[in-house]
């Protein structure tokens, strides 16, 4: 189910809110779990079984880790002492959790990628057909990358002593399946909501701010991301595009993916607040970053921090010398790229970001040796522009359906690809008032507008009116748009 759909907005959400606030508080997690399973299974009911399986495994691992698995056990689940050695049963439990989640992810997301590459290799080596393996007909379950990471973080957090385990299955199932952030994040790590699963406040102030977040996110998705997406689709789907259209289309895509994902995150945060949960910030004006390092502090913060805490730091982070730091950075970004999808394009996208992060480190190291002053506004502007261009070029690999098409798009951007006669139709479409306005407004908001967290901090009647207008405008626009799922649904 999609947040920005008639079904969710006017049927599922009212029903969910009504039941949630009518029911006794001790049944709320069970209710949320049921609603979340309905929300998730709406796309494909069979996917629910997979999520349930992952949930059961991690729940059981949690019981084993905290030694609370015996029937009839009572009391507060202990917090394992951090930094102390674990027994073999605990090591097995955390390993089982990590392996089972990664296996699920590996099979559903990467099996065919592996098989295809194996077959290409065998063909390249001119080995006989007996070496070739058949492709599997696998449908990628929605949001599997998100909930496996969340589920896995539970076992790891409990193992590390960063969070207490959960004894009630329904509480844990609620955490894994919580519908506001289930399908496309933000990735909520267990330690971030562990306390809230025990107790959380429901106030009008919280609910009202949730409404504000939700409406802003919806407007970002429907009024900014979708129109920009239309322009981006035109540019990417037209092979003989000219230079200007290639760059404009790519800029449109950069705004589409930002407002699409940031919009989803804001809607998720808003829904969370309506249900009493507080989720952390996931975006912080990423296109205003003056370096790639800063970009990753502002873009999809829940993923970048997950990768840092569960991958980069365990790999040694920057504690094992310069070369290892660069290797770790590259490795984390390559895996981060692969997390988005099983294709060489995502690997290249990750590699570009990894490489730029390494360069940034080198530059920073040299800069620290020479000067420690804060940058001038010119330096800041150049930094922002350079970072945006690097991010933009990397988006080509993210958006193009295949590597040859990505390279073809880059050729169009460089002006070395043949331009088709039909390209002037594309220019005409871009120059429609609709195209100019969509891009202009999106660029303004990405560059200058206050962030949802800042704007919603103070809610006055005037802002209430703005929210009401945005809501009505979004609903009106929604009725004219066809099915527009969020981009991150497929990751």
């Amino acid at each position: 189910m999609v947040f920005s759909s008639h079904l969710f907005l006017f049927w599922f959400l009212p029903l969910a809110l009504a039941l949630y606030y009518v029911i006794k508080s001790r049944y709320r997690h069970a209710l949320l779990t049921l609603l979340s399973y309905l929300f998730y299974g709406w796309t494909n009911p069979l996917f629910v079984l997979l999520m349930f399986l992952s949930t059961v495994i991690d729940y059981l691992c949690g019981l084993v880790l905290t030694d609370t698995w015996r029937p009839g056990w009572k009391g507060e689940v202990p917090l394992l002492p951090a930094g102390e050695p674990r027994n073999s049963r605990q090591k097995w439990a955390v390993t089982l959790s990590v392996v089972s989640n990664l296996s699920l992810l590996g099979f559903f997301k990467y099996a065919n990628f592996g098989l295809d590459n194996w077959n290409h290799l065998m063909e390249a080596l001119r080995l006989s057909d007996t070496w070739l393996l058949p492709s599997l007909h696998i449908v990628l379950p929605l949001g599997i990358s998100f909930y496996t990471f969340q589920s896995m973080s539970y076992a790891i957090d409990v193992y590390r002593g960063d969070a207490r385990g959960i004894r009630r299955f329904v509480d844990f199932a609620c955490y894994v399946s919580l519908f506001p952030q289930l399908v496309a994040g933000p990735i909520i790590r267990f330690q971030e909501v562990a306390n809230q699963l025990q107790f959380r406040l429901h106030t009008f102030e919280k609910f009202a701010r949730g409404v504000a977040f939700f409406v802003l996110g919806m407007a970002q998705k429907i009024l900014l991301a979708n129109p920009c997406g239309k322009l981006a689709d035109w540019a990417f789907d037209t092979p003989g595009r000219a230079v200007a259209e290639a760059w404009t289309g790519l800029a449109a895509y950069s705004f589409q993916i930002f407002f699409d994902f940031a919009g989803y995150s804001n809607m998720a945060i808003g829904l969370g607040l309506m249900l009493g949960f507080v989720f952390p910030k996931n975006f912080d004006a990423p296109y205003r970053s003056a370096s790639i390092t800063e970009f990753w502090r502002r873009w999809h913060i829940s993923l970048s921090s997950w990768l840092r805490d569960y991958l980069y730091i365990p790999l040694g982070g920057n504690r094992k010398g310069r070369v290892r730091t660069y290797i770790n950075l590259m490795l984390v970004m390559l895996l981060g790229g692969l997390w988005h999808g099983a294709s060489w394009n995502f690997l290249i996208w990750g590699a570009i970001h990894g490489f730029m992060l390494c360069l940034d480190r080198i530059r920073q190291r040299k800069k620290n040796r020479i000067e420690s002053d804060s940058p001038t506004w010119i330096g800041q502007t150049v930094g922002v522009a350079t970072t945006y261009i690097v991010v933009l070029i990397a988006w080509v690999f993210f958006r193009a359906p295949s590597l040859p098409e990505a390279l073809q798009y880059l050729q169009s951007m460089a002006g070395i690809a043949p331009v088709a006669d039909s390209a002037r139709l594309l220019r005409g479409l871009f120059l429609l008032p609709y195209g100019i306005l969509s891009l202009g407004v999106a660029a303004f908001f990405a560059a200058f507008a206050p962030q949802a967290w800042d704007w919603t901090r103070t809610l006055t009647p005037l802002r209430g009116v703005i929210l009401l207008l945005l809501f009505l405008l979004s609903v009106a626009a929604l009725t004219t748009q066809s099915y527009n799922p969020f981009i991150y649904f497929i990751f």
Partner: protein
């Protein structure tokens, strides 16, 4: 206390931030109340409207694709599997799951499209967008100076459509393409069709009709003019004939390309496409018909004219473009007013409107480009379409099968069904002219369709003589899909229904079955037939399909999934009421 990780701060920061929200308690209550009122009002009003209209409280998935009451009707989903595999537990689970997904999709679509919000918000919002931003929607793209374009036509030229066609053309071994959208290969389908026809000494003429942006790129191009290598701003070169013509030539297929005719006409200042419609003008259509008649004569494929069989009259008609309707209809009329054109209806010497001539040596297969000015339901007059004009040019009766939409497969399927029913529509034919919109080359369904003639069957299905009509009752066993008015190009649609336990009210027939076409969408409004479900008992008036086909056969229609049912002689049904 052991260290807390960096990211614990994120949660704390968020909680502090939320705690810092500056909003008065009163306003927080107001904002919450308004939001909840908006959320709850929509389903409550919707349910109220449903109750008021004597419908179910929540819209049910009536237009389920290919709903069927027959157990196991979905077996075809697993055609490639063995009997054991089909009946295995897993297969049954997957089948059940597929059905569930279909049902919920239909439910969700019904909910959205049946919503009063859709009715009250969409037209004014689209009108506002069109006025202020020159923005269209998923199907319509506004150009300058009142021109409107059909989005798939633009997609054909910009979004990889032509590239795919060129790839098809260059694909020498004619196997299936690597891309999924053109499946299978159009050239392959044409050549297979030509070979089938050649077995009966029939020549195939292929006529891909250019789409509007190919002839009129200017209203969509930047005002500064041409920006690309060719320098011409008049037309865009059409992609298909460049490579494919030689291949078709080798196989004896005549490729009749209307593009040069239309481009020349445009050069002379004659409008060749309607400004607000997907289709060509009557003048352009007649010019192409004239050029085709010359080609037929030069190739020795046209019979000698039979003195003056047909007459033409002049008539001015006014119509609203189909793209205006796609943009929201009535609210757009002030921006895109109705257009007036001169058409030339064709009549027989005795004054009867032109009708397809079954005994003709020429069979014309066409889509909406031949239905416009011929099919009254399209709103641009009648009896003046492409087949009529060709007949007039040749002064010779032409047989015709025409259906809106899906020119790649729809008319071949109609022909194939007739042949398999034992009705030899190809008898005495020397030429088959197959016309379709050029965008079909990129987006059409080019499946191989058999053209073998079958034997007439008597399976106990109800048949009626041309002049007969019969009031019957029966039970719906299965039905074909209905389309959503919001998602179609054409304003009318027919569906097929398989009726069981058919009993004539006059007692002349009882206990049999019937295949019935019903109109489930009229002028973009769903008709009662659209909400039929398997198991419903109905009462309706049946007529012979052939007797009404001049009026209805051109409409886009869906067929039943079960292929054997498609081979039964269909009837026409009207005045449908539920009889539960």
């Amino acid at each position: 206390m052991k260290r807390r990780r960096y990211d614990i701060d994120r949660e704390e920061m968020a909680r502090e931030e939320i705690a810092r929200t500056r909003i008065s308690r009163g306003f927080a209550r107001w904002l919450t109340a308004i939001f909840l009122t908006l959320l709850f009002a929509v389903p409550l009003v919707q349910m109220g409207l449903h109750l008021h209209n004597d419908q179910s409280l929540i819209p049910l998935p009536s237009s389920t694709p290919q709903a069927s009451a027959l157990p196991g009707a979905q077996e075809c989903l697993l055609q490639s599997a063995s009997v054991e595999e089909k009946n295995s537990f897993l297969s049954r689970v997957f089948r059940f799951n597929s059905r569930l997904i279909e049902q919920k999709s239909a439910f969700e679509s019904g909910l959205e499209e049946g919503s009063f919000l859709h009715d009250i918000l969409t037209p004014p919002f689209e009108s506002l967008q069109a006025r202020l931003l020159r923005s269209g929607n998923e199907k319509a793209v506004p150009g300058r100076e009142g021109w409107l374009f059909y989005e798939p036509d633009i997609a054909f030229l910009t979004r990889g459509g032509t590239a795919r066609v060129l790839m098809v053309s260059e694909h020498s071994n004619l196997t299936a393409l690597p891309t999924a959208e053109v499946n299978p290969n159009p050239l392959d389908a044409m050549l297979r069709f030509a070979r089938e026809l050649r077995k009966r000494q029939i020549t195939l003429i292929v006529m891909p009709v250019p789409v509007k942006p190919m002839l009129y790129p200017e209203p969509l191009s930047p005002p500064a003019g041409p920006a690309t290598a060719s320098g011409s701003c008049a037309t865009l070169p059409q992609p298909f004939s460049l490579v494919a013509k030689a291949m078709l030539d080798r196989e004896g297929v005549v490729l009749f390309d209307p593009f040069p005719v239309l481009a020349a006409l445009k050069e002379r200042g004659v409008p060749v496409f309607l400004k607000s419609d997907t289709h060509w003008t009557p003048a352009a259509m007649e010019e192409v018909a004239s050029a085709l008649s010359i080609t037929l004569r030069q190739a020795g494929l046209a019979p000698q004219p039979d003195s003056s069989l047909f007459l033409r009259e002049k008539l001015r008609v006014q119509g609203v473009g189909d793209i205006v309707t796609m943009l929201g209809g009535d609210t757009q009329h002030s921006i895109y007013p109705p257009e007036e054109v001169e058409i030339h209806p064709v009549f027989s010497q005795s004054g009867e409107m032109w009708m397809p001539f079954r005994g003709s040596e020429i069979l014309f297969l066409g889509d909406s480009f031949s239905n416009i000015y011929s099919l009254e339901g399209m709103g641009w007059g009648a009896s003046a379409g492409f087949a009529e004009q060709l007949s007039w040019q040749l002064q010779y009766g032409v047989d015709a099968l025409r259906r809106n939409d899906a020119g790649a497969s729809a008319t071949r399927t109609m022909l194939s069904n007739e042949l398999q029913r034992g009705v030899d529509r190809l008898k005495a034919k020397r030429v088959v002219i197959w016309s379709f919109a050029m965008r079909e080359l990129a987006f059409g369904n080019w499946a191989d369709i058999p053209m073998a003639i079958g034997k007439p069957r008597d399976t106990g299905f109800l048949r009626l003589a041309p002049a007969d009509s019969l009031w019957v009752t029966g039970q719906v066993m299965s039905r074909s899909s209905s389309l959503s008015p919001a998602k179609v190009i054409y304003a009318d649609h027919l569906m097929a229904v398989h009726l069981m336990d058919v009993a004539a009210e006059n007692g002349s027939f009882a206990g049999g079955e019937a295949i019935v076409y019903l109109q489930d969408m009229k002028e973009r409004k769903l008709a009662p037939a659209a909400s039929l479900r398997p198991g419903d008992k109905v009462r309706l008036l049946l007529k012979n399909w052939e007797s009404v086909s001049p009026r209805y056969s051109g409409f886009n229609r869906s067929e039943l999934d079960d292929f054997s049912l498609q081979l039964e002689e269909p009837l026409w049904g009207e005045q449908l009421t539920l009889h539960n």
